[in-house]
Symmetry: C2
Subunit: 356 residues, 2 copies
């Protein structure tokens, strides 16, 4: 039986992407070669890389608007480092919003490079909301935020209007909702939520942002190198990029971000309505900041845990256990998770109410 996969990431991808990727491992587009053994310099893969970069910009509405897209390696955690290396001037200053574990990780790497101002943090409340009143120093080299917090189930609805470059880690909600992406100067996202398998990171960079720090940047960390070499500075993660392209094409065929956003809204509404209605459950995140990607919730009575776990596991659900920082349950509803899977979860919650 195929599972209802609510895993927080790596996560479910479209079933047709699994099928196409599986076939390409045996024979890539009739070349007689596996996607795993083709040269990254072959015209076939160069075309894949080019199309993936262009389609990513296109889906974000950034084609022709002066942005570059590159596919890198190392995960978003590597971008925690590349961002200050490329954007923080010597003796400069950067501003960060601390909304959870990943924001903290980004702040930690930045601190080694210069004055890292945390403009606000919801840590004292175990990151259960997004701080909204804060000031960004006008002399900061950039402002960094995390659009969605997988662990704590919160998501930014508004982004600050600011004169400093806006940098955003969108690892866990990119391609899931319409935003004016042209307000951002740099966006990065690990693939393994809405874009593809773990192993590549998309970075979108506005022209004119780079080469202003006076800092010597190692080649492998230098965004300009990766832009100039069209994501082929060194051997790229061929399979991860190819499978990301398959996923982006699936999204394009669905109708792009506006189309998937409707599905995501429906999934989130279905689950949060049940969390709020069902007296046996409660959400952990502030209502106005609830993530539409990751819903975190608890049982009102821990004594029901064994019964509930049995119910959802028997329904074919996997990956529902909450992160240890929050406990309880976390339902991750990324782009490829069908509405039907959320219905199966809601049915299990209703069934618990009936029999508990």
């Amino acid at each position: 039986m195929k599972k209802h996969n609510f895993s927080a990431g790596p996560c479910i991808l479209p079933q047709e992407v699994f099928q196409q990727a599986s076939e390409a491992v045996l024979d890539f587009n009739g070349t007689g070669l596996s996607i795993l053994e083709i040269s990254h310099r072959s015209k076939e893969f160069v075309a894949v890389m080019k199309e993936a970069r262009a389609l990513a910009l296109d889906l974000l509405g950034l084609s022709g608007k002066g942005y570059h897209a590159v596919f890198l390696q190392g995960g978003a955690s590597m971008e925690f480092l590349r961002v200050p290396y490329n954007l923080m001037t010597v003796n400069g200053k950067a501003a960060y919003l601390d909304t959870g574990t990943w924001a903290s990780g980004a702040i930690k790497e930045a601190k080694a490079f210069g004055d890292t101002v945390v403009v606000a943090s919801s840590k004292p409340e175990n990151y259960n909301h997004i701080p909204k009143s804060f000031e960004i120093p006008t002399d900061a080299d950039y402002f960094h935020c995390t659009s969605n917090n997988t662990i704590y189930g919160t998501q930014m609805r508004q982004f600050p209007e600011t004169n400093v470059p806006l940098v955003c880690d969108m690892s866990s909600d990119i391609f899931s909702r319409t935003l004016d992406f042209s307000k951002f100067d740099l966006i990065y996202a690990g693939a393994q939520k809405n874009m593809g398998p773990a192993g590549t990171t998309l970075v979108v960079i506005k022209e004119g942002l780079l080469n202003k720090t006076g800092r010597s940047i190692p080649n492998i960390l230098n965004y300009q190198q990766h832009i100039d070499k069209e994501s082929m500075y060194n051997t790229p993660p061929v399979f991860a990029v190819y499978t990301s392209l398959l996923t982006l094409k699936w999204l394009q065929n669905l109708g792009g971000i506006p189309a998937i956003e409707k599905v995501n809204e429906a999934k989130a509404a279905l689950l949060y309505n049940e969390i709020d209605r069902n007296p046996l459950f409660k959400g952990t995140a502030a209502t106005e900041d609830r993530s539409k990607m990751n819903a975190t919730f608890l049982l009102e009575n821990e004594a029901h845990a064994a019964l509930f776990d049995n119910l959802w596991k028997n329904a074919g659900i996997s990956g529902l256990n909450g992160h240890r920082s929050v406990g309880g349950y976390r339902a991750s509803m990324y782009n490829a998770l069908p509405l039907e899977s959320v219905q199966v979860l809601v049915d299990a919650m209703k069934e618990l109410e009936r029999i508990a």
Copy 2:
């Protein structure tokens, strides 16, 4: 028709690995989940990572000898940076042997960290040999070399006896030949030759080597972090690690490095004998330094190029074009390339001699 893939990397992997990897993209070990959608924290994948790390050490004869193995992201080019960050002391010195493009890349990244002494270079001779007479400063923090040079078709047979830690980029010949790997303090290798698909890098580190530099190391670049977190500091490239494990198991089942070394010797002998015998061809690398992984050779008469290209392409060979730095042809004969494929190439060379 399945191709005879002589690509320099990414390159051919065992056919059974393609089959197993393809199946796992649809259903990983009967879990009902694709290998692309399982959590890296799932017990199934934690077991994969653990087994891959242990098997890598085992195949290298380093089990129980005080070494750690980690699987990272970023390619060998990222290790060009991690090595000086982790091993070069503040105001320290490192020694590098310059044997080609990759060695030069490593030197370039190291230079930003301190005194980087190039003990010898074969660049003036277009890297057609391995320099053998050089002195390693006894006060260097480490000595770095590249065991095999894919572009120039050379390979180190001997490694220096030295009191300073020995660091080696073995990206293109790891697991291909017996060596006393315990002489090395740090070995790294991008997966995409003898270990798996592009997207992960194996790093083997001797205990006691780290934490001696007095340098502040970014978390994502800190080897100690990756050792402590058992290669799960951040989301690992799940598919690349899994497919590397499949490839390492294939090698283990064959009889490990000693068994594949015999096959590799036979392939190299077959091809180099033909290059030397056939009056229409000549090798580019110094005979004593010829690589058993990548044979680089030229036509004596360029006018035969169209005819020869036609012959090998019609024989189902792919990936034989030489790198632009050397020209001519490059036959990469990694572990998974069958002897039969080399015979097909040799037959094409003989056929050229007959009809040219």
